[in-house]
Every structure is written in structure tokens, then in C-alpha cells.
């Protein structure tokens, strides 16, 4: 079913950002409003597509639009085509919806910044790139969106790049993403080499005939790409530093949309992962590891944004775990992704408004007792908090518990380990989220003198309220009558749920809730009841110190990659100058040196010349003599 309006989804924000960037000073006055309008219109188009799709029967829901033949060389045919199906429409709505809310929020948040126009241009560019990512109909189109999003996050993280630390953070993010992109481009190459095509439809159709080895290779490479973009285990070091960007950026990119691109990629290539069990297992393992990794870091971070970033890393670990559990888990991974989009973005905006009130203070040990001063923020943040730890009526409960349940039902030791990890993660999540809420809103004031917290303007709390509503209702809406599962069924072909599950859903939920309560209790004891020191205590266990240093991820990266890399560079530069260039200069010196040697034969004496002539004659006779020997 072709549609002509898909291109506007990408074209509108792209046009918006181009206009704002090229417009320059003249667009300052209305720039931000224009950008928000563009984002809203994109959301409108998204809704229109959604409505069109709802009207279609289950199987023909996918809408495609072929713009032009992008690259066609021999058998390598790639069209600039867009496709929206059940899976990508969820993303489109999430991106444009949450995006518009964050645009509104940014109007107020960035009101005092003199580069606001440029900020909104970057936001629009990000929306365009993200939409291209989810709407691309082939891996190569996805790749364009993929790197576009990487560039957007680079620009937005490094928005205040006059501070060198922020500029370095932006560079670190882009390079880490680029490592992931290397994986994606390799996956595309393997796909083309083995299957002869790179479009999703083509790969899906031929996946059956390809060897499992090739498919596993593609799967592993896709996983590398996902870890790069979604900050999963090996390539997660950049997410903490990405908080250098303005808070709306963290909310939009590093909570709701970009970081979930990895999950989208895995879900979109479900046909590859289903046919390559080892790759699928790797995905689940990476998910589980990141889940715990993020949770542990979350516990030790005093900076509110870094704590939320760590929690994002761990929540995405859940989604990747879900996606790695095969067809059963895809739907729940996407559901958790959507609900997470709501409550995590809400919480980030809440953190933003707290920072706004406390003139950009981020250290939670400097907050305390803000409940009375910022009631709306506290309310929305609280709702988001309840959702994330998985309290039953809220969204988190539905999506996260289902993932834990599917993890357990994966069967065998794999099921148990993954399930246990997920459960442990849930407990730790409860602990650090409660810690964040208590440190920020409860307890006594630990502000420094200048701080006078006040509620943020309507433009900021309105989006937070909407997101809070979303985080409350979305879980219930998605699971009512398995709405989301059936909606995604055509894309991910769910296997029939086999009965022999290890634990019934009820048992899993009770177990999870118990752990959550334990987590919350511990946090209350540690932070609510006892006095919270303003300066972080130093005599702490080695685990806390490690967690404070992000479990040594930066040190590891620097020791293994950065320093040896710099050493190689310095070494190569020296050898290039000395050896290769030296060889060239040596040839020059050789020429001059031999010139000097020969010069000494010109003694000026006639007799020595006579001797040379005579030696010539002798040489000649000797030659004749030898020849006739």
C-alpha cells in the first residue's frame, strides 16, 4: 500500500532545521515557535498515517513510498524508499509526540540562551534523522538515519561547546557511535555479499536460504551497532558524559528516542536473529549485563542527570534483554520502550525543572526538601518514579514484569539466570530511584545560600504533566486485550505461548513486587531516616568507589584503546618522518656523498689524469685478455 505523504514526516523537520540554520539572526525571534510547529505538524502527519493504517486489514498495514533510486550499481540496488509498518509507527508517534512536548519544554528552558535558534534547528534535525532511521525501508537508508542521529547527538551534546569538557563529551559520544556504525556497515556488507540485497523485504525473503554462519555474523554485527547506539555493555561509556548537553536533549535523545534505536534495529531484523540463535543469546546476555551495570552505577551517582542516565542504560538493558528472548519478547521490549519513553522523559524534564529552579545545580546532595517548593515537578517526578520501579497500576509494572516473566520462561539455566538478573535489576532500580526521589524532594534542605527554588513556568510543567499521564495510563492501555502484541504480531510473528512456563505471571509479579519493596525500604533507611552529608563520604566500600567511577569503564577504555592509540599515532608519526621520509632523504644524501667522493679524483695534476687513462687502457687489455682466456 503506497502513500505519498510519508516523505513529509522527514522533509518537514529537515526543512525546518535548514531554514533555521541558514536563516541566521533574522529567524531568532520566531525560530523556536516555528520549530515547535514543525514538530507538531510532523506528529499530525504521524497520526494521519496511524489512522490510515488502522483502517487497513491486519496484513496490508505497511505503507511504502519510493522516492527515487538512490544508488544502483550492478546488483547493488538501493532505493531512497520510506516504509512505515506497525513497528515503525509506534516509534514515529513516540518520536514526534515526545519530541513536540520537549520542543514546548525547551521554549521555556532555553529562553535565556542566546543560541536558542540553533538549538531548535538541531532538535528539528534530530527529529528528521530519527524519523528517517525508523522509516527507512532498507538497511542503508536506516544507516543514513543512524549516522544522522549520531551527528545530531554530537551537535546537541556539544551545544555549549565553549566549555572544553562538553566538547570532549560530544566527541566521545560521536566516536563511540561511530564504532557501533562500523558494526552496522559491516552487517550491511555481509548481507549484500550473502543475500545480494540490503532492503528489509529482500533480506527477510532470502534469510531462509543463507547459511546460519552468515546470519550469525550479521546478527553479531547488528548487536555491535545496537550497543554503540543504545549505550549497551561494551560501548556504554559515552552515555554518562552525554549529560553535558542541555536537559531537554538528555530527555529527548538520551532517554526516549535515540538510545532506543538499537532496540528498534534488533526488533526490525527479528528474522535474522530468529534464524541465528547464538546471536539472539548474545543479545540477551548483553542486555542482562548492561541491566546490572547501569543499575549499579545508578546507585552511586550524585549528579541527578547522571543517575537518570545510568537508569536509562539499565532500562534499555531490559528492552535488549526482551528483544533477545525471541518472538515472545519483542512485543514486551517495544512496550517497555514506549512506556520508558514516557516516564523517563518525564523524569528528565522534572530534573531539568529542578535544575532550572536551583540555578543549574545538579548535585543531589545539594537538594533536599524540594517537595514544598516545586509541587508539580514533585508530582510528575513521583508518578514517573512509581512507573519505573513497577508499582502495579503504572506503566512500568506491565512492561517490565512481562520481560522478567518472558526471561524466566526462556527455560533452562538460561531462563533462570536471565530472570534472576532481571529481578535483581528491578530491586536495584527501586533502590536508586527511591534514593533520587528522597535526596531531591524529601529530607531537610541542603541547598547552598544562593539557591531559591521556585516552580518552573507553565511551558515547562505542562509537558511534564502530559508525560506523567502517559506514564500512568500507557501500560494499562497497551496490555488491555494484548493491544500492542496483536498490533505488532504481523511484524514479529509471535510464537504461540507454550504452556510449560517456569513460573506463572502472578508468581513473577509477586516476586518482583517483593523485591521492589525491599529496595525501597533499604533506600528509605539509608537516605530518609539518617542524615545525608552534603559532601559525599569517602570512607566507602570499594564497590561504591568503583561505581562512582562508572565501574572503571572510562579507565578501561582509556587504558585499552585511547592511550595505546595515541602511542601508536606518535610512534607512526615519528617513524614516518624518520624511516620513510628518512629513506627519501638518504637517497638525496647518497647522491651528494658520492659526488664528494668522486670529486677527490680531480687532483689537478696532469700525471694523475695520465694514470687514469693508462688504468683505462690496462682495464681494456685485461678485458680482452680475460675474454680470450
Amino acid at each position: 500500500m503506497t502513500s505519498q505523504s510519508l516523505v513529509y514526516l522527514v522533509a518537514l523537520p529537515l526543512f525546518g532545521s535548514a531554514l533555521l540554520l541558514l536563516g541566521g539572526k533574522r529567524t531568532n525571534r520566531w525560530g523556536h515557535l516555528f520549530a515547535t510547529a514543525i514538530s507538531a505538524s510532523a506528529f499530525g502527519v504521524g497520526l494521519y498515517q496511524f489512522s490510515v493504517m488502522l483502517g487497513q486489514p491486519d496484513s496490508q498495514r505497511a505503507l511504502t513510498q519510493k522516492l527515487f533510486s538512490w544508488i544502483s550499481v550492478g546488483t547493488f540496488q538501493v532505493d531512497a524508499g520510506l516504509m512505515v509498518d506497525q513497528l515503525s509507527i509506534c516509534f514515529v508517534l513516540l518520536i514526534t509526540g515526545v519530541g513536540t512536548l520537549i520542543h514546548i519544554y525547551s521554549i521555556a528552558y532555553m529562553s535565556h540562551d542566546l543560541d536558542r535558534r540553533r538549538f531548535f534547528a538541531y532538535l528539528n534535525f534530530f527529529i528528521a534523522a530519527m524519523l528517517l532511521l525508523v522509516l527507512g525501508d532498507s538497511y542503508l537508508n536506516l544507516y543514513v538515519g543512524w549516522e544522522g542521529v549520531g551527528l545530531a547527538s554530537y551537535l546537541l551534546i556539544g551545544f555549549w561547546n565553549q566549555k572544553p569538557t562538553y566538547a570532549t563529551a560530544a566527541k566521545k559520544a560521536f566516536v563511540a557511535n561511530r564504532v557501533g556504525d562500523m558494526g552496522l556497515s559491516l552487517a550491511i556488507m555481509i548481507a549484500f555479499a550473502t543475500l545480494g540485497t540490503v532492503s528489509f523485504a529482500g533480506v527477510k525473503e532470502h534469510a531462509g536460504q543463507a547459511s546460519t554462519g552468515a546470519l550469525t555474523a550479521i546478527g553479531i554485527m547488528l548487536l555491535v551497532a545496537a550497543t554503540g547506539k543504545s549505550a549497551q555493555f561494551p560501548l556504554q561509556a559515552w552515555l554518562g558524559d552525554a549529560m553535558a548537553g542541555p536537559t531537554p536533549v538528555s530527555a529527548l535523545i538520551h532517554a526516549a528516542t535515540m538510545v532506543t534505536a538499537g532496540v528498534y534495529l534488533i526488533t526490525r531484523s527479528n528474522f535474522i536473529f530468529d534464524a541465528a540463535p547464538t546471536a539472539q543469546l548474545a543479545v540477551a546476555i548483553i542486555g542482562a549485563i548492561t541491566l546490572l551495570f547501569g543499575a549499579v552505577i545508578g546507585m552511586a551517582k550524585d549528579d541527578i542527570k547522571k543517575a537518570l542516565a545510568a537508569s536509562t542504560m539499565s532500562q534499555i538493558g531490559y528492552m535488549v534483554l526482551g528483544a533477545g528472548l525471541g518472538p515472545a519478547g519483542y512485543a514486551f521490549a517495544i512496550m517497555h520502550l514506549l512506556t520508558h519513553g514516557f516516564f523517563k522523559a518525564g523524569m528528565f524534564l522534572g530534573a531539568g525543572s529542578v535544575m532550572h529552579g536551583m540555578n543549574d545545580e545538579v548535585n543531589m546532595r545539594r537538594f533536599g526538601g524540594l517537595r514544598k517548593f516545586m509541587p508539580i515537578t514533585f508530582a510528575t517526578f513521583g508518578l514517573g518514579y512509581l512507573a519505573i520501579i513497577g508499582v502495579p497500576p503504572f506503566a512500568g509494572f506491565y512492561s517490565k514484569d512481562k520481560i522478567i516473566e518472558v526471561a524466566f520462561n526462556a527455560g533452562g539455566i538460561k531462563g533462570i539466570t536471565l530472570g534472576a538478573a532481571a529481578l535483581l535489576g528491578a530491586a536495584i532500580t527501586a533502590f536508586y530511584m527511591t534514593r533520587v526521589v528522597i535526596l531531591t524532594f524529601a529530607g531537610n534542605k541542603r541547598w547552598d545560600e544562593k539557591a531559591h527554588p521556585h516552580e518552573s513556568p507553565i511551558l515547562m510543567w505542562a509537558p511534564m504533566v502530559l508525560l506523567a499521564v502517559g506514564s500512568v495510563a500507557s501500560g494499562f492501555l497497551f496490555t488491555r486485550g494484548d493491544a500492542l502484541r496483536n498490533w505488532l504480531a504481523p511484524v514479529v510473528e509471535p510464537m504461540p505461548v507454550h504452556e510449560a512456563e517456569l513460573m506463572s505471571p502472578a508468581v513473577v509479579s509477586i516476586l518482583a513486587l517483593a523485591l521492589v519493596v525491599v529496595g525501597v525500604g533499604l533506600a528509605i533507611i539509608k537516605y530518609f531516616l539518617s542524615e545525608v552529608p552534603v559532601v559525599a563520604p569517602t570512607d566507602v566500600t570499594v564497590f561504591t568507589r568503583a561505581a562512582r567511577r562508572d565501574l572503571m569503564q572510562d579507565d578501561f577504555n582509556e587504558a585499552v584503546f585511547m592511550r595505546p592509540g595515541q602511542a601508536i599515532t606518535r610512534g607512526l608519526v615519528k617513524t614516518d618522518v624518520a624511516v620513510i621520509d628518512g629513506a627519501v632523504r638518504a637517497v638525496a644524501r647518497l647522491a651528494r656523498g658520492s659526488g664528494n667522493v668522486l670529486r677527490t679524483t680531480q687532483t689537478g695534476f696532469v700525471r694523475s689524469y695520465a694514470m687514469w687513462i693508462f688504468l683505462g687502457a690496462v682495464g681494456l687489455v685485461a678485458a680482452i685478455w680475460m675474454v680470450t682466456l
Binding site: 687502457a617 690496462v618 685485461a622
Partner: protein, 259 residues
């Protein structure tokens, strides 16, 4: 008489005798040329070698060349050498020690190598036939045969060589001629200069070299009336070369005043 001598030379043994006597002598003379200090001696030795060669030419039926060698080559060219030696300094001998470091050993080894290889080459070289001898070619006489050949096949070379001779002669004249900067003083100029120069001591001309002296060679200065040597009487070149002999021994002792 000449034909007799030539025929005698032709037969096997006399030629061998001739060769074995004169050959080594020529080589020794050549070696002598190298080792002797004075240039004149080596000139003489070279003349000797040339004469031997002339004889060898005649022995090898090259009568015309032999005569030309003696008359033209040794006669004229060698004499030219002696003449130049005279100019440059008959007794100018140069020490045999070598100035350029390392030249002598190399030269000697090279020469030995060269000579050795040439000799061994000649020894091994198979000429393919015994010497044909020039008997039939010189039938009507060596000179006539040579002339016939010279003016038929080599006439072009002959003309070119003659041109070469002329240019050589001209070249030598140009090279040796040095352009007088001041015009040659005439007799009149010399006499006015004698009388105009401050003292009249030399106005009446000076004694010629060798006058009033026991030794009339050109390199002994003449004596002035008071018995001392007149240095201006010896030519400038001899003075420059420092060949002027002390005139003291030839001066008359002042006779004691007997009366």
C-alpha cells in the same frame, strides 16, 4: 750496395742476430730514458732507440720508412727536442722522488700488468699464417709500391695530413710568438738612451761577455776597465736561469806596483 745489404738482411739467421742484439739494447735504452736524471741523456737514449727501430724497419723490408725514420723523425724531430731542451735548460734535472702520493706503485703495477698481459696475448694470439713477407709487393721497389698505394687508396688521407702539417706549423708559430708590448728599440734610441742616462759610465758601450777574460763562453760576464764584472754583459735569460758563472777566477789580479 744497398740491395746487397738488404738481401743479406733477409735471410733467416742474420736477421735473428740483428734482432737479438739490437732488440734488448733498444729496451735497455728505453728503460734508461726513464731512469736517467738529465733530460739530455734521455733525449740521446731516445735517439738511440729510434735508430734501432729504423734498422728494424729496413730489416722488415720497409726501406723507405727506415730512411724516413732516420732522416725525418730522428733527424728533425729529435733535434727539435734537443733544441727545446737547450731553451728550457740543458742541465735541468728533476729529482726522481715522487710527489703525488701513491702514483708510482700504481703506475708500476699497472705497467707490469699491461706489459705482462700484452706479451701473453701476443704469445697466445694465433696470426693464422706465417709471415707472408713483402717480397712480391716490393717487386719494383718499396718506394714505388708505397707511392702507388699512397696516391691511389690513401690520396684523401694524404691531402688531409698535408693540411694538418701546415696548420701545425702555423699553430706552433702562433703559440711561440709573443707579442712585444713595447716596440723594438732601434739603434738610434739605444745610443740616445746611453748618453741621456745620468752617468756617462756606460756611454761608450759596455764590454761584451767573455772579453778580457780567459773564458769566452756566453755565460761569463765581461770585465770593466777596473777589473770588476759587468753584470749587464750577460743575457737576461741566462741570468734568470741563474746559469751565470762567477767571473772572479778569470779576473786579472791587480799587479803589484813594481815600478
Amino acid at each position: 750496395m744497398i740491395n746487397l745489404a738488404i738481401n743479406v738482411g733477409q735471410t733467416q739467421t742474420p736477421e735473428a742476430v740483428l734482432f737479438w742484439i739490437l732488440g734488448p739494447l733498444a729496451v735497455i735504452a728505453a728503460l734508461g730514458m726513464l731512469l736517467v736524471k738529465k733530460a739530455v741523456h734521455s733525449a740521446i737514449l731516445l735517439a738511440w732507440v729510434m735508430i734501432t727501430l729504423a734498422i728494424f724497419y729496413i730489416a722488415q723490408d720497409a726501406v723507405f720508412l727506415g730512411i724516413v725514420q732516420v732522416v725525418v723523425y730522428t733527424g728533425a724531430v729529435m733535434m727539435l727536442f734537443l733544441f727545446i731542451l737547450m731553451l728550457v735548460g740543458v742541465d735541468s734535472s728533476d729529482s726522481l722522488t715522487e710527489t703525488i702520493r701513491g702514483l708510482r706503485p700504481i703506475a708500476i703495477t699497472a705497467a707490469l700488468g699491461f706489459g705482462g698481459m700484452m706479451v701473453s696475448l701476443l704469445g697466445r694470439a694465433t696470426l693464422g699464417r706465417t709471415s707472408v713477407g713483402l717480397a712480391d709487393v716490393n717487386a719494383e721497389g718499396n718506394v714505388q709500391a708505397l707511392a702507388a698505394l699512397l696516391f691511389s687508396k690513401y690520396v684523401w688521407a694524404f691531402e688531409v695530413v698535408s693540411a694538418l702539417l701546415i696548420t701545425a706549423a702555423l699553430g706552433a708559430m702562433v703559440l711561440a710568438h709573443n707579442h712585444r708590448i713595447i716596440s723594438r728599440p732601434t739603434q738610434r734610441d739605444l745610443s740616445t738612451a746611453r748618453f741621456r742616462s745620468g752617468s756617462l759610465a756606460s756611454a761608450a758601450g759596455l764590454p761584451n761577455p767573455g772579453v778580457y777574460a780567459l773564458h769566452n763562453a756566453v755565460d761569463v760576464p765581461g770585465l770593466l776597465p777596473d777589473g770588476t764584472a759587468a753584470t749587464s754583459s750577460v743575457s737576461e735569460t741566462l741570468k734568470a736561469r741563474g746559469d751565470v758563472i762567477e767571473s772572479k777566477p778569470f779576473q786579472l789580479e791587480a799587479r803589484e806596483e813594481e815600478e
